[in-house]
């Protein structure tokens, strides 16, 4: 099996990796780069646990090949905080207890960041539709929605 040399950028850092052609970006992130913050849920694009941003656009890393990451900018959950300072979205998820088991949380945080990057003041319907591709079996979603709203308010206040 011949591996493909891929040059990419992960959270602003240039990275090189060797990918098997059929390996998903999720597998490459976790198994080749050791970045295990991005989670595997369904591996079929239904649950959103593996959400990352590619050139600022939200995608499921299980539905993208590692080899397709050549030359793109990848943002993962590890790139959301600034050093040891949590991003307001992360802090609000904690404050609102918007998680229990936590497997879906990295995906929700990345998806929320992608939403607020393009729409700083989304209404509840917009938030719910935007996050429809992220599944959570613990919270019932309501606390997640409140955390997103509160994070949006704080970010608007900061701006």
């Amino acid at each position: 099996m011949s591996k493909v040399h891929v040059v990419t950028s992960v959270n602003g850092e240039p990275r090189e990796m060797l990918c098997e052609p059929q390996q998903s970006l999720l597998e490459v992130l976790r198994d080749e780069l050791g970045m295990t913050g991005t989670k595997e849920g369904c591996a079929t694009g239904d649950c959103g646990a593996c959400s990352v941003m590619i050139d600022g656009r939200l995608v499921c890393s299980c539905l993208m090949l590692g080899v397709e990451a050549q030359g793109v900018d990848i943002t993962t959950i590890e790139g959301i905080a600034e050093g040891s300072t949590l991003h307001p979205v992360q802090r609000k998820f904690l404050e609102h207890a918007a998680l229990q088991c936590g497997i879906c949380t990295p995906g929700f945080i990345v998806a929320t960041k992608a939403l607020l990057d393009r729409n700083p003041d989304p209404d509840e319907t917009t938030i719910r539709y935007w996050l429809a591709g992220n599944l959570c079996r613990c919270t019932g979603y309501d606390k997640i929605i409140r955390a997103v709203q509160d994070a949006a308010a704080e970010l608007a206040h900061e701006a």
């Binding site: 011949s2 694009g45 935007w130 591709g133």
Partner: protein, 292 residues
Amino acid sequence: MEAYAYARPTTLDEAVSLLAAHAKEGRRTQLLAGGTDVLVQMRSVDREPRTLVDVKHIADTNRLDISSDPVFIGSAIPSAILNENEELKSLFPGLIEAADLIGSTQIQGRATIGGNLCNSSPAGDTIPAIIAASGVCVIAGSGGTRRVACEDFLTGVGTNVLEADELLVGLEFPRPQGRTADGYLRFIPRTEMDIAVAGAGVALTLDDDGTCTAARVAIGAVAPTALLVPAAADALIGTKVDDEALSAAGAACTAASSPITDKRGTIEYRNKVVAVLCRRAGANARDRALAR
């Protein structure tokens, strides 16, 4: 067994040569656009190693030409880009509502309407909308470029007219003139993230007094392929697209359907719902055309 390989051609010529060379050697290729169906299939129903030919790095498949006639949508453009385009949404509200129904934010960041068409599922949501809007497939191959009407592109469940040395470059749509508009509706048991039980796309042209002068009606998830239903269009042409005409068009859709019973719905249910969707999508298209 052969191993997986990955190729990213940067021109149509390169892509076609690669496809042709593989075909000649009896090696299997797989066209890869957004990958939201292909990657799932690679891990479930179809694990046979093959050469993945990524079509996303070719200028022609990334071309989006909205101000021209015909309008051109390249096969590698993710639906999120189409859904965010206000001009496209205003030209083809039905096509864009179909694209916007498929999958989550994450899926729309990768999935393409060209891929939806080439995957050729009976339930692909954009397919009836493309057919209704008179979409034409632009296909590149060893013999040059050919054009195939979308309704003639599909040959069965998961199959289409693409030869082993061909790829879909994009879709051409005649630019809607005057009071022309389209609409698409599907039925699913929830409001988001599901596969159509039935779907209907309608495109209409009205004259100054609101009489329908041209129509295209297409249905999905009720036959092995999405279908153009000329009898439904005939029921609308020459009318004001009132309830009576829409009912006749709906009945023509039911008559054209040959659905199966599965976990999403029964034959009887699909036959009934496809008529309802045709009536409602037709009324939406009519109201949009009247507003132009």
